[in-house]
């Protein structure tokens, strides 16, 4: 049978089979498994049917725990059910997995295996998650490649039905889940043939039904539990045989034969590596290379890890084997060895003692760890492991791929060793996230994979920034199947899609001699050479690179492509790489454009066609001079004045050299210095704002909305201007707040992302030319150096005394130093202005518990953190626990603070005679309500500490370690709506009810932004989101109303773009409230599909339409006989659709399904009308008759 060749990634391959073989699918987003759920949801919304001709039900849940519960329930009632997850998500499913297995229920969970967070979170791939689930009694089947993902998904689905043992089908996160590969697609007939309907009926017959009722899920006592637990044994005994039978059947249908343990290599191998996951592909490739050279090496791929079939394992090994290395992609500190190693040793040892070991004597077995968090695993490392196996005393419990200079576990290896065949075209493409490089490369893979006989592989590396991020695409094309599951480090094609990268990244070190180098350059073939850094020049000459330039930006501009140079660079690649003839390549590109963009409208197709047509005329080969004489040098990653740690560690990570850092360089407990984003200076803005003091009305709105703290305000004495650079701008302060002072608004030119929010909100207009404001966007390069000097001078101006500032005002708050700066959030981010604001208002005494999500990524993803310190070294202390537990995590902060403050106060009283009674009285009596009081308290605590130093009692020592708690601390629990409305809602609710003094800030983007825009319970009705592809049909949860129902929680809903003053007031009141506070902050988001520059208009419209209510609910007011609810917005004055259709998330439905759009927007209008009616009534209630307090705790 002819099967279609498709180029897809592992997630799509798994979802393809899972969707067709199930009836109920419960989903929840988590990287890197989210796309599986997204595919399922999208197919269901398109009406794609499963093999029984019906559309599966796809249900998004509130957490992975919820998904597992729903799966369990659906299975119990007889539906074929599946889910997809990874990492912490899988751990949340573990309790249900025990139950599902205990009840012998067939199902397959498809897992893109990802690192479990320990000292740090990591989204990348290893087996720590699936290994943590290995005690649940689930079968575990490992896929090593995209093809295997599709094949094993089906084999698992078939086997589970017969075995009644549930299956974890896992493959490596990112390396396999996101690798794009040309594979053979299974047909519906293949799937149909593998699934036995009799088994499906059997599953249904076991279902709960009142027609034939049973009880399942009993509680058992010591008398019978044990015996009952052993009843499952026959099923586990039979399971491997059933899997092999399914594999054999699959082979007879499709032709690809798999075994429980697949051996590759020399039949007389003496050294064998046992491994599973994508690393097995690299081992296989290396073994074949070595075996061809006559080396007696082999490898055993573990397919079915659980139930572990000892007999099949032993059978899989050649009798000649003398030494075995079991490689684990996980780490279990404190164990004898990692799981696979332990199984291998146990299997061999058992067989030896039973006399069934073919090799007669026990081979030497060593275990090693590799590839944690997608760390590279290359043939060089495989060769090194084989070399170790040759040694008489090989190192056991080794690591490979890192330098462990602490406990010396690592094997060093030859980093230059490569086995890449010359028949494979290996291309490296450096692009900017926004320029379309990755999508162009995905397109090229499709063209080559699907239109030629070549095999194709694509893997994409992204950095951890959300704005100005670099992407590196690794593409392989060749006549044979590709097993190279590692990055390209010997490329015969290198493309640099952004000229500025040359000063930051040494990409040509990966080019092999004679390779082709394609550069997108604003300089033509005649003068580009002189603009290259000397490092690039040297390598071009020494490696005799063929060098081409194209001005893709110019072509993009001329053809209406904007900033996207994807089609242009793709055309250049095909033109110079020689995979296809130019004519054929262009025809295929156009064909692909039609396929890709046809559904987006003819205009989009035409502009891409035009870009293709205009490209070749702008592509030139550069005549390479013989001498590298450039005066330009690559820029150092951090400036000279950066601190030691930043130079030693952070700088290498910034320069993409983090792989070179040894174990000793890394903190042992995940603790990092703050204030490091200031050293990164990413220079990503093409345009930055320039201040015009003559037009400025000094409102500080620009600084207020700046998401990156790159436009700042300082008020200072005129004497401080001594030594100012000539171009430094300063003006007299106009208002009554700071009489006689000077004022400067200064832009950080190398940190600004150029979002333009500040210019957009600036209310001042130039009277001579109204398009100009008090700040205006100007090209950055021309003023970069000048403004960098000005900014440096600005930073050195003294900070205004916090005691003299009215913190709860716009102007006051903006004079304070931001202690959240230069984050890598999206350019124009709607969340970060709020974080910056709280860092200004309370940053020097603030602790942040941050839920996993966007704010934890731009807050805490290496290399740097935006959380900063003031001149006294104070600033936010930050941590992230998990996604689901953040409210509880933050409550824990508060519990410590409350307890330790209490303990310190007790000790203070006890030591009062020694410390001084007056001082103790002052400390204990200080309410610390404002900055001045906090300042005084700090002075007192300092004094106490100095006195305690001189007291030699254990209690004094104890108090010394607790004394800092005597200064008021501000606990902030920060997260997005996915956390607050969904996965963390139970905890959040509990913390609100607990009555402790915590401040909860919900950065509400109305979707799971960090994982790519999946619907949450905050997603408004009528908006399209992933998992709500047809528009969300149910209304947004009113979280604030839930919280208000306690009567003891301060609740505010804010939208900075609608009322910045209300935002500041709410923050000040929430922090001052001695109890739980909840602030729900409207955060516009790139996921809304909006003009981010004008996003404050969207916020305004959200409020004006009644979609977003502005209010403050302050329980304190009840004491005064006042209504606690104060509405800060007026009756809606525009229709919901007037707001909604400013945003693609709503508008797109009108383009694809206008009837549904109309229906949903009408309902959304009703939601808004009703909400207003309710709030209006609540706010009008008379509280004058209610005496006394309602405050909790």
């Amino acid at each position: 049978m002819k099967r279609r060749k498709v180029t897809i990634d592992g997630n799509e391959a798994a979802a393809y089979v899972a969707y067709r073989t199930n009836e109920v699918i419960a989903i929840y987003p988590i990287t890197p498994s989210s796309p599986m759920g997204e595919w399922a949801d999208a197919w269901a919304s398109e009406g794609v049917k499963n093999i029984w001709g019906t559309v599966p039900v796809v249900q998004e849940m509130q957490s992975e725990g919820g998904a597992a519960g729903a799966v369990h329930g659906a299975l119990q009632t007889g539906a074929l059910t599946t889910t997809f997850t990874a990492s912490q998500g899988l751990l949340l499913m573990v309790p249900n997995m025990f139950k599902i297995a205990g009840e012998l229920t067939p199902t397959v969970f498809h897992i893109s295996a990802r690192t479990v967070a320990t000292h740090a979170l990591s989204i990348f791939g290893d087996h720590s998650d699936v290994m943590a689930a290995r005690t649940t009694g689930w079968a575990m089947l490992a896929s090593n490649s995209v093809q295997e993902v599709m094949d094993f998904a089906l084999i698992a689905e078939a086997a589970t039905l017969e075995a009644r043992v549930p299956f974890v089908h896992f493959f490596d996160g990112f390396r396999t889940s996101h690798e794009v590969m040309k594979i053979e697609e299974l047909t519906e007939d293949d799937i149909r043939s593998m699934i036995d309907d009799e088994m499906v009926f059997a599953h249904r017959s076991r279902a709960l039904s009142p027609e034939h009722p049973v009880l399942r899920g009993s509680a058992q006592n010591p008398d019978v539990f044990f015996q009952a637990r052993e009843t499952c044994n026959p099923f586990y005994t039979a399971c491997p045989g059933i899997v092999q039978k399914a594999m054999d059947k699959f082979a007879s249908l499709v032709g690809r034969q798999y075994r429980l343990f697949d051996y590759f290599g020399a039949s007389d191998a003496e050294r064998v590596i046992v491994v599973m996951g994508s690393g097995a592909e690299t081992v296989q490739e290396t073994v074949e290379f070595l075996a061809k050279k006559g080396e007696k090496v082999g490898m055993l791929k573990v397919r079915l890890f659980r139930p572990f079939s000892v007999a099949d394992f032993i059978k899989g090994l050649p009798a000649s084997v003398k030494a075995i290395a079991a490689l684990d992609r996980t780490k279990e500190p404190g164990t004898i060895g990692e799981p696979l190693y332990q199984d291998v040793v146990t299997a061999l040892s058992e067989s030896l003692s039973e006399g069934s070991l073919l090799m007669g004597q026990m081979p030497r077995v060593i275990g090693g760890r590799f590839g944690l968090s997608s760390k590279e695993f290359t043939p060089a490392m495989v060769v090194r492991v084989f070399a170790e196996l040759k040694k008489p005393q090989p190192k056991n419990h080794f690591t490979i791929g890192i330098v462990d200079d602490v406990t010396h576990t690592s094997l060093d290896y030859d980093r230059n060793f490569s086995i890449e065949p010359s028949t494979v075209l290996r291309g490296l493409f450096y692009g900017l996230g926004a320029d379309g490089t990755v999508s162009a490369n995905k397109n090229s893979i499709k063209i080559i994979g699907e239109e030629t006989d070549n095999y194709a592989q694509g893997y994409f590396v992204y950095d951890s920034k959300k704005s100005g991020s670099i992407t590196v695409s690794h593409l392989r094309f060749g006549p044979d199947p590709i097993h190279s599951t590692y990055l390209i480090d010997s490329a015969n094609f290198v493309a640099c899609h952004q000229f500025v990268f040359l000063e930051r990244y040494d990409m040509l070190k990966y080019a092999i001699p004679g390779a082709t180098f394609l550069l997108n350059s604003p300089y033509g073939q005649e003068d580009v050479w002189d603009h290259l850094p000397v490092e690039a020049q040297r390598q071009i000459i020494e490696k005799k690179l063929k060098f081409y330039v194209v001005d893709a930006v110019k072509v993009a501009k001329e053809t209406g492509m904007g900033g996207r140079i994807n089609t242009i660079m793709q055309t250049c690649f095909f033109a110079v790489a020689g995979v296809l003839s130019r004519e054929e390549a262009i025809a295929q590109i156009k064909n692909s454009i039609k396929k890709t963009y046809g559904s987006k409208g003819d205009a989009v197709v035409q502009k891409n066609y035009e870009a293709v047509d205009k490209t070749l005329a702008n592509l030139f080969e550069v005549k390479v001079p013989s001498v590298a004489a450039s005066q330009l040098r690559m820029h150092p990653p951090v400036p000279e004045e950066a601190p030691e740690f930043v130079h030693r560690v952070t700088a290498l990570i910034i320069a993409s050299q983090g792989d070179d850092l040894p174990v000793s360089a890394m903190p042992c407990d995940g603790t990092f210095p703050t204030g490091t984003a200031q050293w990164e200076r990413r220079n990503i803005a093409l345009e930055i704002p320039e201040w015009d003091p003559d037009v400025c009305i000094q409102c500080a709105k620009c600084a207020m909305v700046c998401p990156h703290a790159t436009i700042r305000v300082k008020v200072y004495d005129s004497r401080d201007l001594v030594g100012a650079p000539a171009s430094f701008k300063s003006t007299d302060y106009k208002g009554p707040e700071f009489p006689g002072m000077k004022l400067t608004y200064q832009v950080a030119p190398e940190d600004c992302t150029g979002c333009g929010l500040c210019v957009y909100v600036c209310p001042a207009k130039n009277k001579k030319e109204v398009r100009l404001k008090a700040i205006n966007m100007v090209p950055q390069p021309a003023i970069r150096e000048r403004e960098a000097q000005n900014y440096q001078f600005f930073l050195n101006l003294p900070e205004y005394d916090r005691r003299l500032v009215r913190v709860g005002t716009i102007k006051g708050s903006q004079v304070l130093q931001p202690l959240f700066e230069y984050s890598g959030a999206c350019s124009g981010c709607g969340e970060t202005p709020y974080l910056k604001l709280i860092s200004q208002m309370f940053g020097d005494r603030m602790l942040v518990a941050n839920a996993t999500g966007c704010s934890s990524i731009y807050g805490g993803n290496l290399p740097t953190t935006p959380y900063a310190q003031d001149k006294q070294g104070r600033g936010p202390a930050w941590s992230n626990s998990l996604f689901e537990d953040n409210a509880e995590f933050g409550l824990g902060f508060r519990l410590t603070i409350d307890k330790q403050t209490e303990q310190a106060s007790e000790l203070l009283k006890k030591l009062s005679p020694a410390i001084g009674e007056n001082l103790v009285k002052e400390i204990l009596g200080c309410p610390q309500k404002d900055e001045a009081e906090i300042y005084q308290q700090r002075q007192r605590v300092r004094e106490v500490k100095s006195r305690l130093e001189k007291i030699a009692s254990p209690e004094a020592k104890n108090l010394l370690s607790l004394a800092d708690f005597l200064v008021k601390k501000s606990v902030w629990i920060v997260g997005g709506d996915g956390w607050a409305y969904d996965i963390g809602y139970g905890g959040l609710d509990h913390v609100l009810a607990a009555g402790r003094n915590v401040n909860i800030l919900v950065l509400d983007t109305e979707v799971y932004s960090n994982t790519g825009g999946q619907a949450s319970k905050s997603t408004p009705r009528a908006a399209v989101a992933k998992f709500a592809a047809g528009g969300k049909g149910t209304p947004k949860k009113d979280l604030g109303l839930h919280a208000m129902s306690y009567g003891s929680v301060y609740v505010a809903q804010v939208a900075m773009g609608s009322s910045d003053l209300q935002t500041v007031k709410a923050f000040a009141e929430a922090e001052a409230y001695d109890g739980p506070s909840l602030i729900i902050a409207y955060s516009h988001c790139i996921a809304h599909g909006i003009n981010m520059t004008a996003a404050m208009d969207n916020q305004k419209a959200a409020v004006n339409s009644g979609h977003w209510s502005l209010y403050r609910y302050n329980p304190e007011l009840v004491r005064e006989g006042k209504n606690p609810l104060q509405l800060d917005y007026k009756k809606p004055k525009i229709k919901i659709e007037e707001y909604a259709y400013m945003e693609t998330r709503y508008k797109m439905l009108t383009k694809s399904n206008p009837e549904a759009a109309k229906h949903l927007i009408d309902l959304a209008q009703k939601d808004a009308d009703e909400r207003w009616r309710l709030y209006e009534q609540l706010a009008a209630m008379d509280y004058s008759h209610i005496p006394g307090a309602v405050k909790s705790s």
Binding site: T31, P32, S34, P35, E38, D41, A42, E46, I123, F174, H178, L432, G433, A434, G436, T437, V438, S439, F460, Y462, S464, K465, K466, S469, T471, G560, G562, R564, Y597, S599, K600, G601, D602, A603, V604, K607, K765, V770, C826, I857, S1009, N1010, T1011, G1012, G1013, V1024, A1025, K1026, A1029, I1086, A1087, G1089, I1090, T1144, K1147, M1148, K1151, S1152, N1153, P1154
Partner: protein, 329 residues
Amino acid sequence: MYLTTTYMGLKLKNPLVPSACGPLSRDLGKIRAMEDAGASAIVMYSLFEEEILHESKELDYYLTHGTESFAEALTYYHGNYEFRDPEIYLQYLSDAKQAVDIPVIGSLNGISVGGWVDWAKKMEQTGVDALELNVYYIPTDPDLSGVEVEQMYLDVLKAVKQSVKIPVAIKLGPYFSSMANMAKRLAKAGADGLVLYNRFYQPDLDIEQLEVVPNLVLSTQQEMRLPMRWIAILYGRVDCSMAATSGIHTAEDVLKMLMAGADVTMVCSALLKHGVGRISEIIKGMLQWMEIHEYESVNQMKGSMSQKACAQPAAFERANYMKALRSYV
């Protein structure tokens, strides 16, 4: 009394046709209501090619903006999104045609000859009875001559005429150096009807916010003078139908236009202001007037006060302006 008239070969029961502008034709219920109120045909709201191009590009931009940049969020929307605006518009035309018995006229505003032709063909396939080319063009380029602008109109018209079989009207603005000549050339180029005139919305300045703001105002009766004059001048001189539009609010306005020489009169602002029931009021008013003044049919009055037919032909020419001016002094 006969109210029937013929417009571009279409036999209409009366000369009252709701024009393309306005939101009324965006709702099938309202279209039916207009038919029930007595409208003799309906011009559908315009398809703006530029808007479709812009929307598709804008959506493509926002759907791809920020994608493939960050490992956890490689997209923000699922890729299988379809831009169905054109299809939706054409389906709506077809639905409108099915919904009423009166002729339905499709209205089109293109930006390129290719676009005009493609869309005209697609609109014809929906079953509409005629097309109206809504040429909305403000020539701001100082290097573009009037001759070139005029040629553009003629090229578009010819191209569309060659590609469709149904009648084609062209809706114009008044800004031509020689209106009569332009009208004649358009008729010669194949126009089945001239729709006079397009009202161009004029922006306003907000001197508080220092912004240029769109200023959408409904037409006033004063505005009918301009098309009435030109219809009166052109009547009998150009070989095609003429539709009067702008400022027609009452039965008297319709009667005036007919007497000037219009075959149909198009109403919009009056319906927005007073509701679709205004159509029946106007018809009733016409009938009353005709009865009182003993007119038998619309055809009887059509062009009866055109420049050719009236007693003071010069009144339509420049002298009239001079006289009016003096009367104010």
